[in-house]
């Protein structure tokens, strides 16, 4: 895959993730106990030999910068290629934030043009999956496609998703759906493989006409004029675009089969190494059906939950159906149920946080309840 460079959009849909992205981009959203969402895309890229990677940020990207450092944990601290992070400005010296993917690509066209690779893989950062892009490239070449778009089979919900209708293995129609469907459809994963020159000429053309939406202003418009090939991702693929999907997709990972597909597939999923100690279970620990990261101390009950690194659950405390992010603390006899607590949240002794499966409560970073 020496001929492919990667471009990751660090921010997308973050409005709907509200409290969880106040302090961070979607890319750096914690996921699965020790990861950030972007780890999956970065790791898939690296494992497929894509080592020239640009990340376009939009705002709140301190946590992202802190997480990726210069890519050492992904083996991306390279002399040629490696990671380039682009600040959220349109062009270099302006202070205007970019508005859509077209504008974002336009603003880094110099970087894309200068890179020696012939192809570009575009990806959002709100996807968790484990995939070998070598196979995507092989399919792209076999189909003689201009654009290959990754799709998976799923039902539409109220989230904004791109529905892909195909005929004879080619994309026939594309539209955005925001209404729930009863049956599986092919939904776009916002990952595209395309030749660099084609991408840049399409982007330049549309940007010059004031268009910014890649899906609407390029893909839908080019239907019929360029050959679009759908590549079906059969393994588990999670798209996180609001608090509900974040919660649901997190809980799915408690299923060993899903974990197998996400973590033991083609790619090793790397993340920032934090050198935590293993988790300590104390006298009164009772942990069931839960995913527990390193560095926790558990002396209470944990059930159907995900604990990130450094979480403390004290004696008599109960955590059920919840996601407790890094350094969270549930003190004696505290109780957390159907909740997502962001980093460094403390639930003081005896307090209760409780939401509903369909509406998990979110506690923002650094809060003490």
């Amino acid at each position: 895959m020496n001929g492919v460079m990667g471009v990751i959009f660090a921010s997308d849909n973050e409005n709907k993730l509200n409290e969880l992205t106040i302090h961070r981009t979607t890319a750096s959203l914690p996921f699965c106990g020790r990861y950030r969402l972007i780890d999956f895309t970065l790791s898939n890229f690296v494992n497929s030999g894509i080592t020239q990677i640009g990340i376009v940020t939009r705002s709140n990207y301190s946590s992202l910068m802190d997480h990726i450092r210069m890519g050492r944990d992904w083996d991306l601290n390279r002399k040629n290629g490696g990671l380039s992070v682009f600040p959220p400005f349109v062009l270099n010296s302006s202070r205007e934030m970019y508005k859509g993917k077209i504008e974002a690509i336009y603003s880094i066209q110099g970087f894309i043009r200068r890179s020696p690779e012939e192809y570009v893989l575009l990806s959002n950062s709100n996807i968790a999956m484990n995939i070998d892009f070598d196979e995507v490239m092989a399919a792209h070449l076999a189909a003689k496609a201009d654009v290959t778009m990754l799709v998976h089979k799923a039902k539409t919900t109220t989230s904004r998703r791109l529905v892909v209708e195909t005929q004879d293995g080619e994309v026939k129609d594309l539209y955005i759906s925001v209404t729930p469907s009863s049956e599986d459809k092919l939904l776009g994963l916002n990952v595209y493989l395309i030749k660099k020159d084609l991408l840049l000429s399409l982007v330049e053309h549309e940007y010059a006409r004031g268009h910014v939406d890649f899906e609407k202003d390029i893909l839908m418009k080019q239907l019929g004029s360029i050959k679009m090939h759908p590549y079906l991702v059969k393994h588990h693929a999670a798209i996180v675009d609001d608090v509900r999907t974040y919660y649901n997709e997190s809980m799915k990972v408690l299923d060993p089969a899903v974990r197998e597909e996400l973590f033991y597939g083609d790619s090793i999923i790397y993340t920032k190494v934090k050198d935590s100690v293993p988790t300590l279970y104390k006298e009164n620990a009772c942990v069931k059906n839960s995913l527990i990261a390193d560095g926790c101390e558990i002396d209470g009950l944990v059930e159907n939950s995900i604990l990130f690194r450094g979480v403390k659950v004290e004696k008599g405390a109960e955590v059920r159906n919840s996601i407790i992010m890094e350094d969270g603390k549930v003190m004696e006899n505290g109780s957390v149920c159907y909740a997502i607590t962001d980093k460094n949240v403390t639930v003081t002794a005896g307090r209760t946080i409780s939401g509903y499966e369909s509406y998990p409560v979110v506690i923002v970073k650094d809060k003490t309840v």
Binding site: R34, F263, V277, I292, A293, I306
Partner: protein, 401 residues
């Protein structure tokens, strides 16, 4: 213009021989590469101590096939040792002149690598052992060495008078200057046991190594030859008193005990210390999973492990698997080991990649543990124990059974 490779202090880590007292655990790997504490290897402790103490140039002297250590250490990145100059170098005895020779003793091992040390032109050399679990700031010891203007400073730890006859004992004057060194004395005069950690002024040590090598009667050992010779010559040797947890893990039972010390806050062995992290090569595994059927108490469990059974007072290392209904008590399960459904493991060490068949019984399965009388069963790396097979307490299993 100054020398661009100069280092004030270089560490030389004596990674030891084949560690025969650890039996099957060191059959294929050097002792420092033996797993410890769920996600570490023994060598992570001295390496992390070095980088935390500001020492970034380390020679790892191993008698053994260097490849495993070479690969584990790699570019040194996990320990922040991927520096532009310096880093960690694995130094096996290499062939020179006609054929080359094993490291004859601890002093000879350093002697054979004088050229390596000279390349960094250091003022001080720290000599460390590769089979101790402890956290120590060598920089403070170096500061003491400098303050005393010492030729050699030896770290000592207080032991009980009963234990003292098992150690090298340093007898010192009130200023901590060592006037006598006794190896395992029957009638110990003090309780300052050598921890096997030395700071030497390199110019002094260098000459002693050359002289020691020239002496055909010498065993080329620091404790037996070099230190006594320096004392006899009236060199300035000082003891540096260390407070804190320190354990030699050169035997099965001490290795097991040190693992158990992690479960016990009062042991003094606390690795959850942001100011003194112990680094390890990361296994890139997802968090561990405790299934609905899991029972885990008084134990530590590391990343990538999968627990369906019952784990009490045990260490479960990364990527280990504990099957449904399996019972693990007072045991150490090393990385990638698989304990199948219904197996019982008590007072045992199950090595990397070993597979314990369904319903097998490993170690002490009857008696409750009595301190000091533990008998630890060991299942070797990659060994497969067939279903329902019984492995006796203190048994060491080298081959499939």
């Amino acid at each position: 213009m100054k020398s661009r490779n100069k280092k004030e202090c270089v560490a030389m880590l004596l990674a030891g021989g084949q560690g025969t007292r650890l039996g099957v655990l060191t059959h294929d790997v050097a002792k420092p590469a033996v797993p410890f504490g769920g996600k570490y290897r023994i060598i992570d402790f001295p390496l992390s101590n070095c980088i935390n103490s500001g020492i970034d140039t380390i020679g790892v002297l191993t008698q053994y096939q260097p490849f495993e250590l070479n690969q584990y250490i790699g570019n040194g990145q996990p320990w922040d040792l991927d520096r532009l100059s310096g880093g960690a170098y694995v130094l096996p005895p290499y062939v020179k002149g006609k054929e080359g020779e094993w490291y004859k003793g601890t002093a000879n091992a350093i002697y054979q690598n004088i050229n390596f040390i000279d390349r960094f032109n250091p003022e001080y050399v720290v000599v460390l052992s590769g089979d101790h679990i402890y956290k120590m700031d060598y920089d403070k010891m170096l500061a003491a060495h400098k303050a005393k203007g010492a030729d050699c400073t030896i770290a000592v730890i207080g032991v009980t008078i009963e234990e003292a006859s098992r150690f090298g004992i340093m007898n010192t004057d009130p200023d901590d200057r060592i006037f006598e060194f006794e190896e395992k004395p029957k009638q110990p005069k003090s309780t300052n046991a050598s921890m096997g950690i030395y700071v030497f002024t390199w110019s002094v040590l260098r000459q002693y190594l050359i002289d020691d090598e020239a002496d055909p009667k010498s065993q080329n050992d620091f404790g037996k030859n070099v230190i006594p010779k320096m004392l006899a010559d009236g060199k300035k040797l000082y003891a540096y008193r260390f407070q804190g947890y320190w354990k030699d893990v050169g035997t099965i039972s001490s290795l097991w005990e040190a693992n158990m010390d992690l479960l016990n806050a009062s042991s003094g062995l606390n690795l959850n210390d942001p100011s003194w992290k112990i680094y390890a090569r990361n296994s890139a595994e997802p968090p561990h999973f405790a299934a609905g059927s899991a029972e885990i108490q008084n134990s530590i469990v590391s990343e990538g492990a999968m627990v369906l059974g019952s784990v009490k007072r045990s260490v479960v290392s990364h990527s280990a698997y504990i099957g449904l209904g399996a019972i693990i008590e007072d045991s150490v399960i090393l990385p990638d080991a698989v304990i199948k459904a219904g197996a019982v493991v008590r007072h045992a060490i199950v090595a990397e990649g070993a597979v314990i068949g369904e319903g097998a019984k490993i170690g002490e399965t009857q008696k409750a543990p009595v301190k000091g009388e533990w008998q630890i069963a060991v299942v070797g790396p990659g060994v497969k124990i067939a279903p329902s097979v019984v492995v006796a307490p203190a048994e060491m299993v080298k081959e499939d059974k």
